[in-house]
Symmetry: C2
Subunit: 94 residues, 2 copies
């Protein structure tokens, strides 16, 4: 994994198209980007990836999708496991 | 892909643990199962997969994660694209 944080798009609470635009801009200069999300925003991450692909078709493709879980300390001090998703998108080859 | 519908767990609106239990029961007799979801329940599908793995550790592992989109006709008659996720889980080898 690259340590260049510019190739990671972390999904938060901004409008969906903010992330789609950011991803397409990064893909203009980076060989690969990774869209990361956790918890309920994992569903948004999939939407963002699909929109990036459909808006730039057929320039980019899904390289890899990884799911996992992370332990977070919640506001009440207890540990909570949240699910995570990492979607890598790269330029279509051939 | 197998045409055996018993090895597919489709995520709906039931409580999370319903799907976790169903998946673990299917994995007792099937070599591989696929957890499918679309729209906002894609986030739940990831939770279900992570819970299946953590509750049965180290018996099963993620075989593949596939994301995509599907065109649905919404209640207002217009087409809407929804994101989908397919998570395949198989018995750990070796």
């Amino acid at each position: 994994m690259s340590d260049n944080s510019r190739d990671i798009i972390f999904i938060g609470k901004k409008p969906l198209m903010t992330y789609v635009t950011a991803a397409i801009i990064q893909l203009a200069t980076q060989p690969m980007i990774t869209i990361k999300a956790r918890g309920l925003t994992t569903a948004i991450a999939i939407d963002v990836a699909q929109l990036v692909l459909s808006k730039t078709k057929p320039a980019f493709e899904i390289e890899n999708v990884k799911i996992g879980s992370e332990s977070l300390v919640a506001a009440d001090g207890r540990n909570r496991d949240v699910s995570t998703i990492d979607i890598s998108i790269k330029r279509t080859t051939g």
